[in-house]
Amino acid sequence: MPLVFEDVSYTRDQFRLTANGIFEEGVHLVSGKVGSGKSTLAFIASGLVRPGTGVVHGNQIRKSLLSMQFPEYHTTGITLQEEVRSWGLDPEEILESTRLSGRGEQDVSVLSRGELKRLHLGCVLSCDADLLVLDEPFSALDCREKRVICRRIAERNHGIVIICTHEQTWLPPVDFIWEMKNGSLVSCGRVPGAITRWSLAPRHIRELVEQGLVPRNISPEAVMEATCRTRE
């Protein structure tokens, strides 16, 4: 069920995005600097923005879901319970899994930014979607929550997951790496080979690659394993 970008371009004021590529089933990481077009790509991938030219198609994708960077953009319920129900999910189950049990009657606005993001991602990752696009899923989360999100992404065993992020430390194992460079989508290829072509890799991964030690993946565990290879 690949998602295909064919000669896609999109222009807004001075900004121009171009994209060509095939997103196969698996987990994709899209990295890029602030303002490079990651969010625009996420909107186009999930069908919320139509490209100016070219086409995006995924014939076997029945359901796609976009998680926007700012969780408050998704909020429709007044209480936590209502918010969870608006996703068609069971409040008790989601509140327990996001460690917000007993707060179902509270107003969503009393949550801290990180707690709201936690609730939002708890809902998103509990929905069944063939295409899941996560725009900066780790921003505003503490390291414990980032680990939870990484684990839940790794547990998904079907469909396409596209993660647009600048997170440097807490990354899940991925299958493919892409970069947004000045508005253009560039494929680094399949992991682990892609790691050597990843110009925007986090500093600690770049240093390992420079030593000739390519981690098997980009998660902290894989990086630690590669680091230990240097000591053997």
Binding site: V34, G35, Q69, K117, E136, A140, R147
Partner: protein, 227 residues
């Protein structure tokens, strides 16, 4: 010195806390009260109970620069130059001095090229840098930043960190989820469920967190047990 005594506000419960001049980073899980504490220090929120004194004054009487976590919530004006000039204009500084000061702070922040731009056209990282320049334009005694790095890439975070460190503010206090940045501060405060559970230099605080994900990854890789 910043002195908090018997502070109770929402989840916060701080019997006593002294913050010395220099850079202090507040870390902790989501919902632990970091933003609430920063707002009290910045004088945006008065504590329900207890007192906070900054060099002998109430926070409301101290010149403080504040950066909201949400980049868009920092910006009020249409152009970058008007935005940076606004704190000076609000206090009725003469126009020539305002222009001069805006140019100086923009140059120091490396954003002179943005002065003529519309704020709505800026990228997220540019918005943060403009907001920081605006917060610093009055040479505040206290600079407070609420997870301003959470939406930045590594390059923008490095620039932000460099600017923060070059600030002339006597007290620089910010919270972050980037433990690499926290490791470079003078002091770290760990807040959990509204309570200060650790306070000291980064080495002291993180030494007790070696089994926790809060421990900086670069330190962990340097000391990898490799068993």
């Amino acid at each position: 010195m910043i002195e908090l005594s018997s502070v109770r506000h929402g989840i916060l419960n701080i019997p006593s806390l002294l913050i010395l001049p220099g850079s202090t980073v507040i870390i902790g899980p989501n919902g632990s009260g970091k933003t609430t504490l920063l707002k009290i220090i910045a004088g945006i929120t008065a504590p329900q109970r207890g007192t906070i004194i900054i060099d002998g004054k109430s926070p409301a009487l101290v010149n403080t620069g504040w950066l909201n976590e949400y980049p868009d919530r920092n910006l009020l004006f249409g152009t970058v130059s008007d935005e940076i000039a606004s704190p000076l204009r609000f206090r009725h500084d003469p126009c020539p001095e305002v222009r001069e000061q805006v140019n100086i702070v923009a140059q120091e922040s490396g954003i002179s090229h943005l002065l003529g731009r519309r704020t709505r056209d800026l990228s997220g990282g540019e918005k943060v840098l403009v907001s920081l320049a605006t917060a610093m334009v009055t040479s505040p005694l206290v600079l407070v930043l609420d997870e301003s790095d959470s939406h930045l890439d590594q390059g923008s975070t490095d620039t932000l960190t460099r600017l923060i460190r070059s600030s002339k503010a006597l007290y620089i206090i910010w919270c972050t989820q980037d433990m690499e940045a926290a490791a470079g501060a003078d002091r770290v405060i760990l807040l959990e469920k509204g309570v200060v559970t650790r306070h000291g230099n980064p080495g002291e605080v993180f030494a007790e967190l070696s089994g926790d994900c809060l421990y900086p990854l670069s330190w962990r890789l340097s000391n990898a047990p490799c068993l």
